[in-house]
């Protein structure tokens, strides 16, 4: 292992690194170094900041905080072995030799006794974008020793990802840049200014597009979000979980005014009306019949009906309906908050069909009701195919520990097999704060992890002592992004702007920390798979090798040697006119059939009818063939539960941290207070003052957090920024304010996904400040 060329002199030198968290965008960073110590962070230069597509990729406050994150006292410094109870956070220091030996033994033991399907690679996004190092290296290693149990879906977008193919196959959304052609923008729970706030990302693209079109923006959200502020949008506060009712009310309003183009819908859709309903479908099971009240429930979905569900006045719903159909080009999109819901699959598809029924799709300035596309710069890496094909929904790993043999394709959405044959015995958790922080119902999860006869071994490999790291049996310290070399792309949500960055180590690895690839190389030698794992390459060799592969496809790229010190090696701006969702289909639906069973947009889905017949659901779960509004269990209409827990609690993404990354830094906590949003009316009846510590609770748990008393949230709704670091006191109360002390493990109907915004709770003020445990 040769010592990397960092800067030990007193003269400032600049290295290019990047912020590798899961915000979806990717910011290169200039890391200023003197005497091997980072002195500050700044942004790359861009080519010409005045020209969109050549502009500087300016990191947000998080990227600017990398110096503090690197030297944070909570960094892991050497390998450690658990000595206390699991989750207690008591460890002893061990050597790398001991750690690698133990890992090798545990892997061999697990494979010999249970097979490779007992090894689960946990979902985790703490180093999203790391290409050669990190997650990809870990997965490659596991593939070389026979593979691991897979997951499908993710905590961000589980419901929408599972549902979208049933509506219009693999159709892609438009780029947000298309808003330059729109005269109206309607966003459901879409909060680009907080969730895509990177200076290279979609917030920039949207500002740029709005500057051209001056489109009117309407944002439907229980919170007056930073997007409402930044885009000067009209705010339409909605009761969470009722978006499908709003869509139904809009469609009814259009039927009232005879503003639906029946011929157009017949051409492009099935299931809109009786005429386009599949032969096998029962009479009146089409969406139009549902809207008019001719279906099972017999209720016309009038704007007055929708108003009662959504909290939005009927006349506003009628006006919104007409605004959409009267627009020359209405952009309709949704964030992932509305779908992160107990029955979010229905919410998300209702929003997806709104642009269809209003004809606002497949043309300039329109979208398909989903987020908005992003172009990823293709960068080769070291991926290897996992020999194991069995996959569980990302959210059911606790079930796969606790009662794996009960899990089947029909009751738990297992893929690649009819049922699980073995539970998770070895949990590999790399750069992941899921197990003790981002998963639901942390108290229940804690119990499940206590039984060491079930999950026998937990490896946590990370940079910081997170709440999840405390659950490790073996805890390994990783290098941070500024201590690492890599070749990375612009990630998955930076929009039309896409680029490739050469990351070069700015400082030597701190303490005893080692690059994961080097550790895995040693481990692979112990397990007799070194040649297969490395193919004779070091991490730096892989970077050069991947670059040359890329350069073969694009000979205009500079030579690898010339990319030394370059940072952003290449950048491109996609022409958004070539990326308009459903355009080819709109232009010629016969020639450009969708890959749905009918080849058309499926408002009524026979495939979903089949699943509804074949699968076994939890009590109360309904999978409907059309995008009906269904009241959620523990939602706004759960009157029985609301007697005890009257407030609807949702989570949201806050500016100061990205999921749980960065949320421990005092400099960012100071800039962005992590507090629970509550309307002054709800605060007043509970005698809660701004800044006061409150207790929030339900049957699953309790937490303390300061209150932000603000008119920016709908009465009856409270909101906690997700990603705060969980920390329980002696009484079991989360004094870190982690929302997942209160969220539920009950999976959604189709995706078996996380319902983390569906929570009923109560809150009360605290009079004394609690002592930390």
């Amino acid at each position: 292992n040769k010592v990397p060329p960092t800067n030990s002199t007193n003269e400032e030198k600049i290295f290019y690194s990047a912020c590798l968290v899961n915000c979806g965008s990717r910011c290169p960073l200039k890391v200023h170094v003197k005497n091997d110590i980072i002195t500050k962070i700044s942004s790359e230069d861009g080519i010409n900041d005045a020209v969109f597509g050549q502009h500087q990729i300016r990191p947000c406050l998080r990227g600017r905080a990398v110096r503090w994150r690197t030297y944070d006292p909570e960094r892991l410094k050497y390998p450690m072995l658990r000595i206390g109870k699991r989750g207690e956070g008591k460890f002893k220091r061990i050597s790398w030799d001991e750690a690698i030996n133990l890992l090798s033994e545990k892997l061999k033991y697990t494979i010999n006794n249970y097979g490779n399907e007992a090894i689960y690679y946990q979902y985790g996004t703490g180093t999203t974008g790391a290409n050669i190092s990190g997650r990809n290296a870990c997965k490659r290693f596991l593939s070389t020793i026979g593979g691991h149990l897979n997951y499908h879906g993710d905590y961000s977008s589980g419901q929408i990802t599972a549902m979208q193919p049933f509506i219009y196959g693999n159709a892609k959304a438009s780029l947000l840049d298309q808003i330059k052609h729109s005269d109206l923008v309607v966003m459901f729970g879409h909060n680009i200014a907080e969730t895509r706030m990177s200076g290279g990302g979609q917030v920039n693209e949207m500002f740029n597009a709005l500057a051209q079109s001056k489109a009117r923006v309407i944002i439907i959200d229980p919170r007056r979000s930073e997007s409402v502020v930044g885009f000067n949008a009209e705010w339409m506060p909605i009761i969470p979980g009722t978006d499908a009712a709003l869509v139904a009310g809009i469609i009814y309003a259009l039927l009232e005014k005879d503003r639906i183009d029946e011929a157009m819908l017949t051409k492009y859709c099935i299931g809109w009306n009786a005429e386009t309903l599949p032969d096998e479908a029962p009479l009146f099971s089409d969406y139009k019949s549902y809207i008019l009240g001719l279906g099972d429930d017999g209720i016309p979905k009038t704007p007055e009906w929708a108003s009662k569900k959504t909290g939005i006045a009927a006349d506003q719903i009628r006006k919104l309906a007409l605004d959409i159909v009267n627009a020359k080009a209405a952009w309709i999109s949704q964030g992932w908050g509305p779908q992160r819901w107990q029955n979010g699959e229905h919410t998300t598809r209702a929003i997806m069909i709104l642009p269809i029924i209003t004809g606002q799709f497949g043309k300039q300035g329109t979208n398909i009701g989903t987020w908005g596309e992003s172009i990823t710069y293709p960068v080769p890496g070291l991926n290897m195919v996992n020999p194991i094909k069995t996959s569980i929904p990302f959210f059911l790993w606790t079930k796969a520990i606790e009662e794996p043999l009960s899990m089947t394709a029909q009751n738990s959405y297992i893929k690649g097999k009819d049922k699980l044959d073995v539970g998770i015995k070895f949990l590999w958790s790399y750069a992941s704060n899921v197990i003790g922080n981002q998963h639901s119902d942390l108290n229940r999860t804690h119990q499940i992890l206590q039984d060491e006869s079930k999950c026998e071994f937990i490896l946590v490999w990370d940079t910081h002592m997170t709440a999840s790291a405390k659950y490790a049996d073996l805890l390994l310290p990783d290098v941070s992004s500024v201590e690492s070399n890599d070749l990375i792309n612009n990630s998955y949500a930076s929009g039309a702007y896409h680029y490739v960055i050469r990351m070069q180590r700015a400082i030597k690895p701190l303490w005893e920390n080692r690059p994961a690839y080097d550790v895995l190389t040693e481990l692979s030698e112990k397990m007799g798979v070194k040649d297969k794992f490395t193919e004779g390459r070091s991490q730096d060799d892989w970077i050069a090798y991947s670059y040359e592969k890329m350069r073969k496809l694009d000979p205009n790229l500079p030579s690898f040697a010339d990319t030394d010190g370059m940072g952003v090696v290449d950048r491109k701006l996609a022409n958004s006119d070539a990326h308009i969702g459903l355009k080819a289909f709109r232009d010629d639906p016969i020639k450009n059939r969708l890959n749905t069973p009918s080849g058309k947009i499926e408002i009524y889905s026979e495939a979903l009818v089949q699943i509804a017949e074949q699968w076994e659901f939890d009590e109360g779960d309904i999978l409907y063939p059309i995008p009906a509004y269904l009241p959620a269990i523990e939602g706004s209409e759960d009157t029985q539960k609301r007697q005890k827990y009257p407030l609807q609690l949702i989570g949201f993404h806050i500016k100061g941290h990205c999921h749980s990354s960065y949320s421990n830094l005092p400099q960012l906590k100071e800039a962005v207070a992590s507090s629970i949003w509550i309307n002054p009316l709800d605060a007043e009846v509970r005698q809660i003052k701004h800044g006061q510590l409150v207790e929030v609770y339900n049957d699953r748990g309790r937490l303390y957090i300061p209150a932000k008393v603000t008119p920016r949230i709908l009465p009856g709704i409270i909101a906690i920024p997700q990603g705060l670091w969980a920390k329980t006191n002696a009484a079991g109360i989360d004094i870190g304010g982690c929302i997942n002390r209160l969220t539920s493990l009950r999976p959604s109907v189709l995706a078996k996904s996380n319902p983390q915004h569906t929570n009923l709770v109560e809150m009360k003020p605290l009079t004394v400040t609690p002592a930390a445990s």
Binding site: T39, K40, I41, S42, S43, D49, R58, P59, C60, L61, R64, A65, R67, W68, A193, E194, M197, S198, G199, V203, N204, F207, R224, E226, S227, V228, V229, G230, N232, W235, P237, S307, K308, G311, I312, A313, K655, G656, P666, Q667, L668, E670, A671, V672, A673, N679, P680, L681, H690, G691, P706, K708, T710, P711, R712, L714, P715
Partner: protein, 207 residues
């Protein structure tokens, strides 16, 4: 005699309140917790009423990023007993000379914008110096160059006023008559002027 005067342009209409300006400044100046040369005010208000079972509201919110306004009549300078707080003749930037400052904090009490901050470690005052060293090299202050929204600018104040107008009396700022700040604000469409008191600072703990 001031030879020229630099100032800030603040486009509040585009500000998403992300705080990158505040944090990049803190990194550049290596400031301790509690010392924020730039602060982002969240100003808003409005109320909620139930009408026919639905909640109606007339709420408004906007952000205003403020550091030192390098005033034409800086009250901090006028009140400084040692001359440590001074206005640079060459560029009009208001800077504290920490070698002379005795840390009496009178400037802090006088400034209506909360610009001077007491450095508890050095026991002297500290404040935004307009990044004059960067400016002398032809760069803009760090806050300006870090803003992902390009909602800040810095230049000779006459040029900024020519480009963006004269507005600087936006709530929650005090009347510009007090110190004649070298700033130009593009108000958010929902902005309230200084004299009106419809709203309040919604993030007192962050500023």
């Amino acid at each position: 005699m001031i030879k020229m005067q630099y100032g800030f342009y603040i486009n509040s209409a585009k500000c998403t309140g992300c705080k990158t300006c505040q944090v990049s400044c803190k990194d550049e100046k290596d400031n301790a917790l509690g010392i924020n040369f730039r602060r982002v005010y969240e100003y808003g208000g409005g109320s909620w009423q139930q009408v026919d079972g639905c909640w109606q509201n007339d709420t408004f919110v906007y952000y205003l990023s403020v550091s030192c306004n390098h005033c034409q009549e800086p009250t901090c300078v006028q009140g400084c007993p040692t001359g440590a707080m001074h206005k640079r003749q060459e560029d009009g930037l208001v800077v504290v000379n920490q070698d002379i400052c005795i840390g009496c904090r009178y400037c802090e009490m006088r400034c209506p914008y909360g610009a001077p901050h007491y450095d508890h470690q050095k026991r002297v005052m500290s404040k935004c110096d307009g990044c004059y060293e960067r400016v002398s090299q032809g760069l803009k202050p760090v806050c300006v160059e870090s803003c992902p929204q390009r909602a800040l600018d810095f230049d000779e104040i006459g040029k900024l006023r020519e480009l963006y107008g004269q507005e600087c009396d936006i709530a929650p700022l005090p009347s510009s008559e007090l110190t004649k700040p070298s700033i130009v604000i593009k108000p958010h469409p929902q902005a309230k002027v200084t004299a009106e008191s419809f709203g309040s600072i919604l993030n007192p703990e962050e500023v």
